[in-house]
């Protein structure tokens, strides 16, 4: 049976089509979820895609967090549903308190789009088990508010528990504390990542195919989880 991976569209989501494409290329069935949905249509995992939900006018992700579909996702994630938040999705996960800390304005104050090297530091999550620990990957980063901040205790806890999933290598594109690019919750099913793996799944349109690993990981994870 093919896994069904939901991709949520909020008003202002932009990379939802790309996330769905990446799910498809990885061999799963993408299921489009609407922000107003009151149910998850039986999906096995969820991707919160990049974009500017509700214009991101107040704080990125602050308004999306209150969408009806988010209530379901928050509940289901507590039961182990794998959830990947990419860029705006990461911001939404932090605003929804599924992940600690916050994403703030890039330190240089500009939107920045570049191909970025990351080091995968935790392969124990639902979304990174296809990588090798310490593997360096190249995927695009593009954000205006991607600077990860948290208090020292939280940062130490993340490090101590191996919950820093990926770090920027060869230059930090936004000033994130401790070069953090991706983190996970204690259970490892919820991952937030600032760069865009869904834009590195085709040789023709991406800088590499390294992004695919996130989407194949969740399939591997789902096979291992009894339904």
């Amino acid at each position: 049976m093919t896994a069904r991976v939901g991709v949520v569209t909020f008003p202002g989501s932009l990379d939802d089509g790309d996330a769905a494409r990446a799910v498809r290329i990885a061999g799963a069935e993408p299921v489009r979820l609407w922000h107003g949905d009151a149910e998850l249509h039986g999906v096995d995992a969820v991707v919160l895609p990049g974009g500017f939900s509700y214009g991101d006018y107040l704080r990125c992700g602050a308004i999306a967090r209150f969408a009806p579909v988010m209530e379901k996702i928050v509940d289901a994630s507590r039961g182990g549903l794998p959830v990947l938040g990419i860029c705006n999705g990461f911001q939404i996960l932090c605003e929804a308190h599924l992940l600690p800390g916050a994403l703030t304005r890039n330190q240089h104050l500009h939107f920045r789009n570049r191909d970025q090297v990351l080091r995968v530091e935790s392969v124990g999550t639902a979304w990174t088990n296809a990588f090798q620990e310490g593997q360096e990957i190249l995927i695009p980063v593009k954000n205006g508010e991607g600077c990860y901040v948290a208090d020292t205790a939280t940062l130490d806890e993340l490090e101590g528990e191996g919950r820093v999933v990926a770090r920027y290598v060869g230059g930090n594109p936004n000033g994130s504390q401790r070069d953090i690019a991706a983190i996970t919750n204690p259970a490892g099913n919820v991952v937030g990542i600032m760069p865009h793996p869904e834009h590195a799944v085709e040789a023709l349109t991406g800088p590499s195919l390294d992004g695919l690993g996130f989407f194949t990981s969740v399939l591997k994870h789902l096979v291992g989880t009894p339904a």
């Binding site: 008003p11 202002g12 932009l14 990379d15 089509g17 790309d18 494409r21 990049g50 974009g51 500017f52 509700y54 214009g55 991101d56 006018y57 500009h110 939107f111 920045r112 789009n113 570049r114 695009p140 593009k142 205006g144 865009h196 869904e198 834009h199 085709e202 023709l204 349109t205 991406g206």
Partner: protein, 655 residues
Amino acid sequence: MTTHPDPAVRETPGTFPAVPTEPRAAAVAPQGSPVDAGRPAAPAPAAEWVAGVDTVPRAAGTPEELQPYAELGLRDDEYDRIRHILGRRPTQAELAMYSIMWSEHCSYKSSKVHLRQFGEKAPPSDRLLAGIGENAGVVRVSDELAVTFKVESHNHPSFVEPYQGAATGVGGIVRDILAMGARPVAVMDPLRFGAADHPDTARVLPGVVAGVGGYGNCLGLPNIGGEVVFDPCYQGNPLVNALCLGVLPVDRLQKKDATGPGNIVVLMGARTGRDGIGGVSVLASATFDEGSEQRRPSVQVGDPFMEKLLIEACLELYDAELVVGIQDLGGAGLTCALTETAASAGTGMRVWLERVPLREPSMEPHEILASESQERMLLVVSPDKLEAVLKTAEKWGVWATAIGEVTAPSPDGQPGRLVVTWHDQLVVDVPPGSLVDDGPVYARPMREPADLILLQADRAETLPRPTDPEALRETVLRMIASPNLADKTWVTEQYDRYVLGNTVLAQPEDSGVIRIDERTGLGVALSVDGNGRYARLDPYNGTKLALAEAYRNVAVTGAKPIAVTNCLNFGSPEDPGVMWQFAEAVRGLADGCLELGIPVTGGNVSFYNQTGAAPIHPTPVVGVLGVLDDVADRVPMGFVPRAGGDHDQLFLLGD
């Protein structure tokens, strides 16, 4: 949800009832707009507006009333013509409308006689589905798919308020593309600034770049190329041109014609505010206090989120075949959209202006008609589809309001009239074609600039050449350090080039390449180029060169060039030297296209780019679009590492 124009208020085609029926509350906020729900475009108390409003009967009864037409940019003979057309003096609202529609920007009154060449010299093409005169040219690229693209200027607003000026420039061109039935899929931004080390460039450039990025990124449109050029001639007048590319199924092409009497006219998108009506504010200067200037900003603020919702809502309407006609609201706001849609169908229109959802309840008729508020579209909808249209708007959280209906041409075969009321007061009654097609046309005097001979006499061959390695090194270093040749990453990094996942080539490539059909690999290549210094020395050949450069940039990716767009940035057309440059440039572009065998499908003219009496260099910016049957065959500009140690061979073509 919005109520329909009530059948009770539908009058006999072509006639206007002496006493219009009671208007209905027409605007109710879509779900999720509680702010507005409590306050639907509340009409001001009667006494307040009745006193100030200039009606048609009043205009007819006060022929001698002085009107500030000159301040609105209309000449004596133009004003006389308006009076002749109407058989009376225009009302305030009508005067505002004529001044907008007969402005250089809308009427192309100085450029029209020259631009004709693009049509006359165009090689026959069976690809062209919509050409010059439409919102944007549409070319067929396969049996099922067509693309549309156009470049437009937003120069002056970007100097006043760089961020918002540039942002709304992107927003405007995207709506042009959307109006053709296309999904916008990419943008480009040819930019010109003053000297790189001038303090004002430090204000303008970062603002413009952030604005282009802020709007385009938030809309989810990849930026696939552009230009950044510095020259002191642009110090007081930077150029911000924006190009948008859209894709549509051939059979989804939309028209702007307001056909079908009885069809409903719907305004969709943002509410209307006092944006960009600085010029028209002179109409109120007599009736307003000191503070009136402050109340009328000429700057528009963009809301890309609203535009994103508008795009999705429009595409859903097209796919469900719910609209008869559609037109974007651009620089000339409702005035342009109402008159153009009616004029192109030969129909009339009846509009209840108080139904327009307002941001500021105190707005007057002429302000509503002139407002340049962004993120709005005008739809023509058959009555049985209205419900579905409003539902779609509601789903996407945008306002949609029935503000009027299409009326029949008059029985004698003459086109219909545009009739606008404001709380039962008749404020506009005009033949729409008189605003759109019967504007003034000028064959302006032209003269080769007196200094051109001197400039041309100073030939490049006479420049000292580096004669030894040291001098050569100097020259190379100086060139590398030139802002015009330097790396543009600081700019391009602020733009999302990945979104939508179809960007095959973007910076630093010669052309942007976008895949438009994932199944077949069909794609298009686009390049925009211009060289103001060259055009200053020789506008005819300088323009041809810009075309040739864009053509080559497209061709080297492996694409076949098929269509041309352009944005002609010049000084004042009232300066014979500038007018000569313009005429030469147009002739050059038309001739060049004839020689290359590809048509100009659309474009934009921007005049009055000057500081005091000093015009910018004539700056025609040319965009060329090419087709790639399979984007996998594109040729990037860098060398590609080959397996097995094979080496690339280098050849130099041409002389």
